[in-house]
């Protein structure tokens, strides 16, 4: 394995010996350790079923929902154990975007952006509210497209717009980090390109951890890449290095399309 992990200095997030199992005999993630570099895009690649989503969802403790899932190891956000934080605090600091756009169907575009505040009962002044909405929508380059229809339902937007709305919703809390699980796999090429451009801009202010099936996407937009296989982190390094000269044979086979 590339020893680059040790060289990630001042990581926003540190994963230490993380294992996750849906049922005891068959772990989905095995002993993964990695630091995530601040203000960079880090991609997680690997064949279907290798545990990418499972790893990602461990970071903001989405697994808490399902009591049967067995989790071992530590995850530290800015040096603080995530298990010691309340889920609301943790998820304010780590936003998440899903494979399929999932705006709240009963809410307007405006309300979708500030859904995190509304649903948690956090009161905002009207001016703050509008500022957050505008800033978040500008961050995802959606403001000009929707500024005249903020009261319309979010579900009226196109798939790509909906996904950007969901990113805006994740950004509304000004998180340290956003997790994206194959955010473009349900989008057409044009919308995909927009989201990719967006992510490269967003890394200026946020740390981005992106699961992707798509190697060329990882090559295009990520600074660091992880390759996972059968629940293990096989290789982790600068994307350039990994694509030019993978260290592990399995990484090489994956990158050259021997399996997928």
């Amino acid at each position: 394995m590339s020893d680059l992990i040790k060289h990630i200095d001042d990581p926003v997030l540190e994963i230490r010996n993380l294992s996750v199992a849906y049922n005891k005999d068959k772990p989905a993630v095995t002993d993964v350790s990695a630091g995530i570099k601040k203000n960079k895009v880090t991609a997680i690649m690997g064949p279907s079923g290798c545990g990418k989503s499972t790893l990602l969802r461990a970071i903001n403790r989405m697994h808490d929902l399902y009591p049967n899932i067995d989790i071992n190891g530590d995850i530290l956000l800015n040096g603080e154990e995530t298990t010691n934080m309340s889920t609301i605090m943790l998820r304010r600091k780590i936003g998440m975007v899903f494979q399929r756009p999932n705006p709240f169907p009963t809410m307007s575009i405006h309300d979708n952006v500030i859904a995190g505040y509304k649903l948690n009962g956090i009161r905002l002044k009207k001016s703050d509210r509008n500022e957050i909405v505008e800033k978040s929508l500008r961050d995802v380059a959606l403001w000009d497209e929707v500024k005249d229809s903020l009261t319309k339902k979010g579900t009226f937007l196109s798939g790509g717009q909906q996904q950007r709305l969901c990113i805006a919703r994740a950004l509304a809390f000004r998180p340290d980090m956003i997790l994206l699980d194959e955010p473009t796999s349900a989008l057409d090429p044009v919308a995909t390109k927009k989201v990719e451009e967006l992510l490269t801009q967003l890394k200026e202010h946020y740390t981005i951890l992106l699961v992707t099936h798509n190697m060329s996407q990882a090559a295009r937009i990520s600074d660091y890449s992880m390759f996972m296989y059968l629940g293990e982190l096989i290789e982790y390094g600068k994307t350039k290095d990994m694509f030019i000269k993978p260290i592990d044979k399995r990484t090489e086979e994956y990158l050259t399309g021997k399996f997928s």
């Binding site: 903001n60 989405m62 929902l65 309340s86 889920t87 609301i88 605090m89 943790l90 998820r91 304010r92 936003g95 998440m96 899903f98 399929r100 999932n102 705006p103 709240f104 169907p105 009963t106 859904a115 995190g116 509304k118 649903l119 948690n120 009962g121 969901c166 919703r169 994740a170 809390f173």
Partner: protein, 288 residues
């Protein structure tokens, strides 16, 4: 260019389509016949008095029938009684039904949820007259010490419960998992997700279930005979005997002078049920 297999297929197709047409006619003819019968026999009695006056007594009706006039009076005491009891029944059954439905959804994999679900299914199969008997023993004997609207409502509420519970559970299940997860990813606690995300998202489904439950109980007669009993007066006291439209129909049936009122009251009841069904269809259509 004769093509025997093609021709054969066309003939088969036509026969099939004809068969389906015939069967659909057979299915819809009862409802058409019922409505035709109700309208042709009942329309004469439907006038302003019908909605604004209490049921006539048998003497008034006899005089009118003998002189060939329409029967005076209406079914106001039945309409108010039905509204009153449906309202009380809804006030009992809707919150409890929603809560149990949410509970079943929330605990779907737990064993006791399965048991509750089975009990709900059994409840749905209990004959309404038996529920009337139960309400009689619970409420008439022990609470209101006499026939009462509350007793009638209790029986109706028990009938509504399984319908509301199941429709609530089904509605919540239909909401995509991804919507729930969007809420969790924002750190929203589970109960707030249910209250502020799932219930609003499933609102039309929940409303549909409630409307169908109401349309299901609004024509119930047997349980009311044992509980609300009926009344010649407009009654809005929960502890007193109360009339209802189906109870009036039964009373009219037992009085040879009031035959005409059977048809108009049935027409009214039928229209209310149809309307409730149409509104809930509309809600379902809006949802998808």
């Amino acid at each position: 260019m004769e093509n025997p297999t093609l021709n054969k297929r066309i003939v088969k197709d036509r026969l099939f389509a004809g068969g389906i047409f015939l069967l659909s006619m057979v299915t819809i003819s009862p409802i058409v016949l019922i409505i035709y019968k109700l309208v042709s026999k009942g329309y004469r009695q439907i006038n302003f008095d019908f909605f604004s006056k209490k049921a006539p007594d048998t003497y008034e009706a006899m005089v009118a029938v003998n002189s060939g006039e329409i029967i005076p009076g209406g079914i106001l005491n039945g309409i108010t009684g039905t509204l009153f009891m449906v309202l009380i029944a809804s006030a009992m059954a809707i919150p409890i039904g929603l809560m149990i439905g949410i509970f079943l959804y929330d605990q779907k994999t737990k064993r006791y949820a399965g048991i509750v679900r089975d009990i709900v299914d059994i409840l749905q199969g209990v004959p309404s007259i038996v529920l009337g008997l139960i309400a009689y023993f619970w409420v008439v004997k022990n609470i209101t010490h006499g026939f009462s609207a509350l007793a009638g409502s209790t029986a109706l509420a028990i009938m509504m419960l399984p319908l509301i519970i199941r429709s609530t559970e089904e509605t919540l299940k239909m909401i995509p998992e991804s919507i729930r997860e969007a809420g969790f990813a924002l750190g929203v606690p589970y109960h707030k997700i249910i209250l502020r995300v799932l219930i609003p998202s499933g609102f039309s489904g929940l409303a549909t279930g409630i409307l169908l439950a109401i349309s299901r109980i609004i024509g119930e007669t047997a349980p009311l005979m044992l509980t609300a009993l009926g009344s010649m007066e407009v009654n809005l006291n929960m502890t007193k005997p109360t009339s209802a439209v189906p109870l009036l129909i039964w009373e009219f049936y037992n009085d040879p002078n009031m035959i005409d009122l059977i048809w108009s009251s049935s027409l009214f009841l039928m229209m209310v049920v149809l309307l409730l069904n149409l509104v809930s269809k509309q809600l379902i259509a809006k949802r998808s």
